[in-house]
């Protein structure tokens, strides 16, 4: 019969047989203490977590937006209003406007008129309470060169004294609220979905921050909060909605929502209102008298990256000469006058 397998083998000095000795106890105790202390040291950065970062029972039990009862929603909206007031010192109005019946939004952008001033970018920032540092902007204005429709040749960081620049045209890009959204397809927890009025929304309290949707979007429309968002107090927009512009937290996705809190009350999005040249048009495509309906029916409209098959809701269109119409057209070079030639019609 072989000897019992020694688990405490290897130490020459200690051969007092099986069982717990004082030395063994001290050794093991010291090692265990050291281990626990080391783990505590490794976890020490967590002491910098603020109270509001810690998950509360309420937040852990909060349901997905689509499963909330009206009472749940009331409680959640109240909680959000209190949190915002605590953080920013401003009492907000947090609402949850439902989608309007018989409405589907479409956005149209007049490429002939956009001068690339980026006022839409900043008006959106004022309206939607994204983080200012790190900077999050939903709209990205692309400076495109004439002759190319490939956005991969665009310049995002143009900064000339005046716009528009020579031989450039400008394409502002934001979430197109696609009818076949790839971001909705890939979200593992259904934190993003498309509402009946066409807006693709995010439940910020449900998102787990895996960023698969950001990888999937062909228009680079989605943004992630890599750090705790910072918004200066004086710039907070207190008219908020649960699904659109209430302040977000770090670790969740956000994006343009067509200013859901405005459009569901019948108002225009902030980017439409601020555009100085009137390039941006918005409305209900199901209404036959709306301007977007007119544009889609009458103007030369196209979409970006049609080949990825997402059926975007944002159409680009153009009228006539474009943004260089303040420059005189080059004079026509005089040509030979038409008429019978001496050679007797050699031309074929």
């Amino acid at each position: 019969m072989s000897k019992p397998y020694e688990l405490g083998g290897g130490d020459v000095a200690d051969r007092q047989g099986p069982g717990l000795t004082r030395r063994g106890f001290l050794r093991k105790g010291a090692a265990a203490m050291a281990g626990v202390t080391a783990v505590a040291g490794a976890l020490s950065p967590l002491r910098e977590l603020k109270r509001r970062d810690l998950p509360t029972l309420e937040r852990l039990l909060q349901k997905h937006y689509k499963e909330m009862t009206p009472d749940d929603k009331q409680a959640v909206l109240k909680r959000i209003a209190e949190e915002v007031e605590r953080r920013f010192g401003v009492r907000p109005t947090v609402t949850d406007p439902p989608p309007l019946p018989g409405v589907e939004y479409v956005y149209a952008l007049n490429v002939s008129r956009c001068v690339g001033c980026r006022k839409c970018v900043h008006a959106c920032v004022r309206e939607n309470n994204p983080s200012r540092q790190p900077e999050i902007q939903y709209i990205r204005v692309l400076k495109m060169q004439k002759g190319s429709i490939d956005v991969e040749t665009s310049d995002h960081h143009y900064d000339p004294p005046l716009v528009p620049e020579h031989d450039s045209y400008y394409l502002p890009v934001q979430c197109h609220q696609c009818a076949k959204p790839p971001c909705v397809k890939v979200c593992p927890v259904e934190a993003t979905w498309q509402e009946p009025d066409g807006i693709t929304v995010i439940d910020y309290d449900w998102c787990i921050g895996c960023r698969y949707c950001e990888a999937a979007c062909p228009y680079w429309a989605r943004r992630f909060n890599f750090a705790e968002p910072t918004i200066p107090r004086g710039e907070l927009n207190p008219q908020m909605a649960y699904l659109s512009n209430r302040p977000r937290m770090r670790g969740v996705m956000e994006k343009c929502t067509f200013c859901l809190h405005r459009v569901r009350a019948g108002r225009l999005p902030a980017c439409v209102e601020v555009c100085p040249t009137g390039s941006r048009k918005f409305g209900n495509v199901l209404d036959p008298d709306s301007e977007v309906r007119y544009i889609l029916e009458q103007k030369r409209v196209y979409v970006l990256k049609e080949e990825v098959g997402t059926l975007p809701r944002m159409f680009y269109y153009f009228d006539e000469r474009g943004s260089r119409y303040h420059e005189p057209i080059a004079p026509v070079r005089p040509r030979e006058p038409e008429g019978p030639s001496e050679g007797g019609g050699q031309r074929s």
Binding site: G10, V189, I208, F224, G251
Partner: protein
């Protein structure tokens, strides 16, 4: 049941027993894991801004390592197939190590996913609203968890039977082994499909990604196993035959040649076509718009892979030093190619053409190293436990003096 707890307790106690080199190794791995944990806690406090990821490059080192490790986990099947399907008995004694490696590696994969999440405190949401079958991530969750459970069951059952000194019943593990073979292929295919299905990223939107994943995984995985088996041979009493290593070498030969052929297919398709969709490939191999960050990495990886494949094909690699060199070249080359060479370039340029490069921060690198160290820790413990148990040195009978049962080896 009592004996099962005794088994677990004995395993736990055995993992703290070893000579000074074992303890030095384990302490080193523990320290690295703890520093990794520290950096992850910093990430929990500050957010993912502690990493080098941005809105432009929103997946980086974590997902790169995750992708690579899913491949390694799948490669455990490469040991199982020869033994169970083709009855090649050279690998018979070492299959268990492949499965134990798969367990450690899958746990590393899951850890890489957790550290990549912006809100890990909300991971329970995946059980409450699960976007299956549309989202490929849900398929991946199912595949990885299932694979982990399969391997835990198979290895655990065989180890427990050896501990109890009885012959394992074929019905309790052989069907699972065959399921695991198919499942191993599927976990890596599903991971590939995460990337392939995105039309907005033409660098990924190619049918060849899934076969390349499998080919490179079946080259890198057995290469790692060759190296770890030699360590097992050196430091434990377990017998690892040279024929086992050479059989693995044959497997890597085939996988590497297929991998290089598929690489050639990819390079031809990208650079002969030379359309606007190849911007990411041009950035990766030649630089684009004045940015060259990944060019030295990818060419190093390709050279490593070619040299490794050449060495593997030539008879010189029948000698262990050359074989080991070829394995290291293979492992590293495929790690670069799958991680930096696949994940990061798809984000550069962005779908709107912006060029923002990506460099992992020290915190990010430390978290990656911490997870690797933790996985190696788990694997070392697994080997530390399984060798005596399978070798018949630590059995229930020997520990608790029960009536002697005929000593049997691992019943595989």
């Amino acid at each position: 049941m009592r004996r099962y707890f005794a088994f677990l307790r004995d395993c736990l106690r055995l993992s703290f027993v070893g000579d000074w080199r074992y303890h030095a190794w384990m302490t080193l791995l523990t320290v690295i894991s703890l520093v990794g944990l520290y950096c992850w806690c910093q990430q929990l406090v500050h957010g993912l801004v502690t990493t080098g990821m941005t809105d432009q490059v929103s997946w980086g080192a974590y997902i790169a390592n995750f992708t690579y490790l899913v491949g390694l986990a799948a490669a455990a099947a490469m040991l199982v197939i020869p033994v169970y399907v083709y009855r090649n008995m050279h690998l018979h004694d070492v299959v268990i190590f492949g499965e134990l490696l798969a367990i450690a590696v899958i746990i590393m994969c899951l850890l890489f996913v957790v550290v990549d999440l912006g809100r890990p405190d909300r991971f329970l949401h995946i059980f409450q609203r699960f976007n299956w079958p549309v989202s490929m991530l849900t398929w991946d969750v199912i595949a990885l968890s299932g694979y982990l459970l399969l391997n835990l069951h198979i290895s655990g059952y065989l180890l427990y039977c050896a501990y109890r000194g009885r012959q394992p019943t074929a019905a309790f593990y052989v069907p699972f082994v065959f399921v695991a073979i198919v499942w191993a292929v599927s976990i890596h295919t599903v991971t590939a499909f995460l990337y392939v299905g995105l039309g907005g990223r033409p660098f990924w939107n190619s049918a060849i990604i899934a076969p390349r994943f499998l080919a490179s995984a079946f080259a890198a995985g057995p290469a790692l196993i060759i190296l770890t088996l030699q360590i097992v041979r050196r430091y434990t009493s377990h017998r690892v035959s040279d024929e086992a290593l050479l059989t693995l070498r044959r497997i890597i030969q085939a996988a590497m040649l297929i991998n290089i052929f598929l690489l050639g297919c990819e390079l031809f398709t990208e650079f002969y076509t030379d359309s606007a969709h190849t911007a990411s490939a041009r950035y990766l191999y030649f630089g684009l718009h004045g940015r060259y960050g990944l060019v030295p990495w990818i060419w190093t990886a390709i050279v490593f892979e070619l040299v490794g494949a050449l060495l593997l094909v030539l008879p010189v690699s029948r000698a262990l030093p050359t074989l080991n060199t070829a394995c290291v070249l293979t492992i590293f080359g495929i790690w670069v190619e799958k991680g930096m060479g696949l994940i990061v370039p798809a984000f550069i340029p962005t779908p709107l053409g912006e060029m923002v490069e990506y460099t992992p921060t020290p915190q990010e690198v430390m978290v990656c190293l911490g997870i690797w160290a933790f996985g190696m820790l788990l694997y070392t413990i697994a080997v530390r436990i399984s060798v005596p148990v399978l070798g018949g040195q630590m059995t229930c009978a020997k520990r608790y003096g029960e009536p002697a049962l005929p000593e049997v080896g691992p019943g595989e």
